[in-house]
Subunit: 543 residues, 2 copies
């Protein structure tokens, strides 16, 4: 099983699924029940209808208020399977565990003949370490079609991840339909070409790229994820990474600072664009409207506002911005960004939501208490945020950025960043050692981040994400004490499940020949280089 359950007690005997097996139980767990029926019906061909009899031959979901939230109690005996939970998320995790107790063929989407659908009797008690077990998917750098997003979500759910941080906008594309501002997708939803590889001097590929999700698509994605106990947390990245916005609505740019020659087109290069939003009231009003529409589609408590890597030097060079700062009594551009984040926070809070941003939102001071920080530049943000009472999601780049190459094998496709092996992902301890127990409670989760500059299809995402995301899922679920050797041996069985699911994961031996990218140059760095850069970048929040 993967992630490893808290307690597994094998029992004598076994249960065999058959044509007559029933599947059902407490109505509160209808989503888990339906998902499990869909999975098992497809591969076994059995009806598994809802007429269950608790005494014999059934898989039953049972409500039990004594089970910890998010956890489950699973019993397999000769008479059937009982999955007890106190909430839908726990019931769903129990359902996932059951699929992992069955032969790997249970993961195929149509009838597999000649399989003995027997499960050894067992008693499992299980609960997650973190309430936020996340994965961030960047659909801005490369648009991922809806069908692939749904598949990505289902795969994440099968690893008991429960948050999809959905990075919907960036310099290279705006992917969410906003009725009030149609140019965001009409203009911002596509670019004329993409940089071919990671090297600074990389050429453009000449091929247009684009796409966006309608609101109905996003509602479908949200509902599909909810059926799998996954919350979709949308991110609208502001006030930097804003070039697609400025391409669509140039009036939102700082007006009195020179623009790049090719602005305001949607960016066709990778890296950090100079474009930054003007901090006038018009911008705030614009994004209040945007977030109103975003909140209408995404019921998530947390709403992402980005906040990362804004090129504030352009504000510093703007007389208009300086005047705005003076007017507002702000002493630095960091304070100006903090002011902007507070405006958004107030708007989200008024709607009962919580702001979620990258650890740069700690800079400039005055971050409202409810704001939650994704700590990505080492542990520095996590420490600073937790100490100042903010909730934190740990996602240190050197442990969870799955765009980083998996090894220093020269065959790795478009290598970027330092090598990040599956063992290193597995070794992540999300709670910084220097935090006190009270501070540590603010670390409410952990997530992997999938930046897609160099992932132009679901096939490449498969390669970069798996099996490292399996390791992250175990970090998120299991306690501090973990055994990599045991994980490796369970992973070997788990890869059979991924094979059945059609996941084109990275083999331990490295890329298959067709997963290599000799055509596109990378930009690898060492761990030491990266650590030095992060130390430099986080001077402000460490101070």
């Amino acid at each position: 099983m993967l992630p490893l359950p808290t307690s597994v007690r094998p029992q004598g005997g076994a249960f065999t699924l058959r044509e007559t097996t029933g599947l059902g139980g407490d109505r509160r767990f209808i989503a888990a029940s339906r998902w499990l029926r869909g999975v098992l019906q497809a591969s076994t061909g059995f009806d598994l209808d809802a007429r269950i009899d608790l005494r014999t031959d059934s898989i039953a979901f049972i409500h039990d208020g004594a089970v910890v939230p998010g956890g489950y109690h699973l019993e397999v005996g000769a008479e059937g399977v009982r999955i007890a939970a106190s909430d839908a998320s726990g019931a769903f995790s129990g359902a996932v565990t059951l699929t992992q107790l069955l032969p790997a063929e249970a993961n195929r989407r149509a009838l597999v003949r000649g399989v003995d659908w027997t499960v050894q009797a067992t008693i499992i008690d299980d609960e997650p370490r973190f309430g936020w077990r996340g994965v961030m998917l960047d659909v801005a750098r490369h648009f991922l079609p809806k069908a692939d997003v749904l598949r990505f979500i289902d795969l994440a759910a099968r690893h008991k991840l429960n948050v999809l941080h959905f990075h919907l906008t960036d310099d290279q594309g705006w992917r969410v339909e906003i009725d009030a501002f149609p140019r965001l997708t009409e203009v911002g939803g596509w670019r004329t070409e993409s940089q071919h590889g990671a090297a600074r001097h990389a050429p453009g590929d000449g091929r247009p790229h684009g796409g966006f999700y309608t609101k109905d698509d996003l509602r479908e994605i949200v509902a599909y994820a909810a059926d799998r106990s996954i919350t979709v947390v949308p991110e609208i990245d502001l006030p930097g990474h804003a070039r697609a916005i400025i391409a669509a609505y140039p009036e939102l740019a700082v007006p009195d600072v020179a623009q790049d020659a090719d602005e305001p087109s949607v960016w066709t290069r990778w890296g950090i664009n100079e474009a930054i939003l003007d901090m006038g009231e018009e911008t705030v009003a614009f994004f209040r409207t945007v977030f109103d529409e975003v909140m209408e589609v995404f019921p998530s408590t947390f709403i992402g506002v980005g906040g990362d890597e804004a090129k504030k030097a352009r504000w510093a060079a703007s007389a208009r911005t300086q005047a705005l700062m003076a007017e507002r009594g702000l002493a630095s551009v960091e304070e100006l960004q903090a002011w902007f984040i507070r405006q958004l926070e107030a708007h989200l809070a008024a709607a009962g939501r919580r702001l979620y941003g990258w650890d740069e939102i700690l800079e400039g001071g005055g971050l409202p208490q409810g704001a939650t920080v994704a700590s990505w530049r080492g542990e520095f943000g996590a420490v600073a945020a937790a100490r100042s009472g903010h909730d934190v999601i740990a996602c240190p780049d050197d442990r969870v950025y799955l765009d980083y190459r998996e090894s220093d094998d020269p065959r790795e496709p478009i290598p970027v960043g330092p090598p990040l092996t599956i063992a290193e992902v597995y070794a992540l301890e999300p709670v910084p050692a220097e935090l006190t127990d009270d501070e540590a409670k603010h670390v409410i989760g952990v997530q992997a981040n999938i930046w897609t500059e160099h992932m132009d299809s679901a096939r490449v995402i498969d390669y970069q994400a798996y099996p490292r995301l399996c390791a992250l899922a175990e970090v998120a679920w299991v306690g501090r004490e973990r055994d990599f050797a045991g994980f490796e041996s369970r992973l070997e069985q788990h890869l059979e499940r991924l094979d059945a699911l059609g996941v084109e994961y990275r083999r331990a031996s490295g890329p298959m020949p067709w997963q290599e990218r000799p055509d596109a140059e990378g930009r690898p760095s060492t761990r030491e280089q990266r650590a030095a850069l992060v130390a430099e970048l986080t001077k402000d929040i460490r101070a």
Copy 2:
């Protein structure tokens, strides 16, 4: 509805799906029933459990031997829906029709709130014109991941297509695992790069491409298709289009004729490669084994052997081949290919299967009666085959090759061939006018062909296939008399379904900016140029 049913008689009243609606019926129609439940449960959120009561509030599948095979009788009344059929295929088509009577939101994969799931009362009697309503998908030129193949199949099924002609091998890649000959996938399953665009002088893109399906994957694809009443007809293309085979097993090539300098690597160019198999007994034995393994995976009556575009001039230049011909009393290279096809036919027939090949198998004479011809070069093959008593699938390139550009709009991505508008697809009459009624009975079906040289993802396949495949589906289902204006108006509603399904179809206005391919040159021709070429190519079968 699309395709248009044979008879639709609107009635008074309506039926509304609700939480309590049951869905079930005759066990023989369990696949249709499960598919429909999955579709409707996802979008409505209703249980639709199997406890049905024919008197009230249910969707019921009923066996009725009086309904024509493949057809169905559908009644919607206040009390529920009845779908009567005499076979599983008819029941499935009835289920598809019901999804089209519901709001387009029924096609989404998760709960849609606020929809009134009401169907107006109606009585529909419907039956298909052709028993073979096909689409050919080329996964050799570009490998399509399993998840995308399953999605392609589900979309085809929603258009009442019932055959997937699966083009699994070609010069540019071999996609099917064969246990006896592992190098077919190890070596033949990938290429070092792909030609960038259609122009003769197009450069290579430098990016490796590959992938293959395991036998378990293929069994899953077959079973998933069967659940949707689609038969998967595999094609192993021989004796030409064989360069991936020869790359893997060079000993299968004609030994005494000069090879291209870069042979025997898997081909990285588009077009027709010179590589051709040696016609010794070893080759026949090799492919007997290959087809044994193929037949083990694919239960289809029809098994494709290709037969198209073999460069027989290389046989003519081979002393060894001339000796083989003399030994076998064969007077021409056409007769040699016909001999080879007969060897395969005998092997397939011994296993109770029927050989299926492109219309070149008519050349050289002696084609066994059971062999079925895919007539692709105009109508010539269809006429010749039907007159000589062979069954025919009509797929004339100028009407159904969906890689051909949809218009002469210069924005069409990588234009190849003559323009092929949706109106032209719709106007196809699969039965050549010159056939007598008796001869015409041999035209047992029609199919669209999707060659993927320039379709490197499911997104591009969506663009090229839809909505033209909707027109082909109506050609395959509806009789000779069709009304394009009516189709166009129904298509407008149908596009809402495709939107819900996430199909990135071509807009009537042309490609979206990101669907253009300014980076890759095409190789368009006119209808006249194409017709002249086809006339030249088919001299032999017309004689």
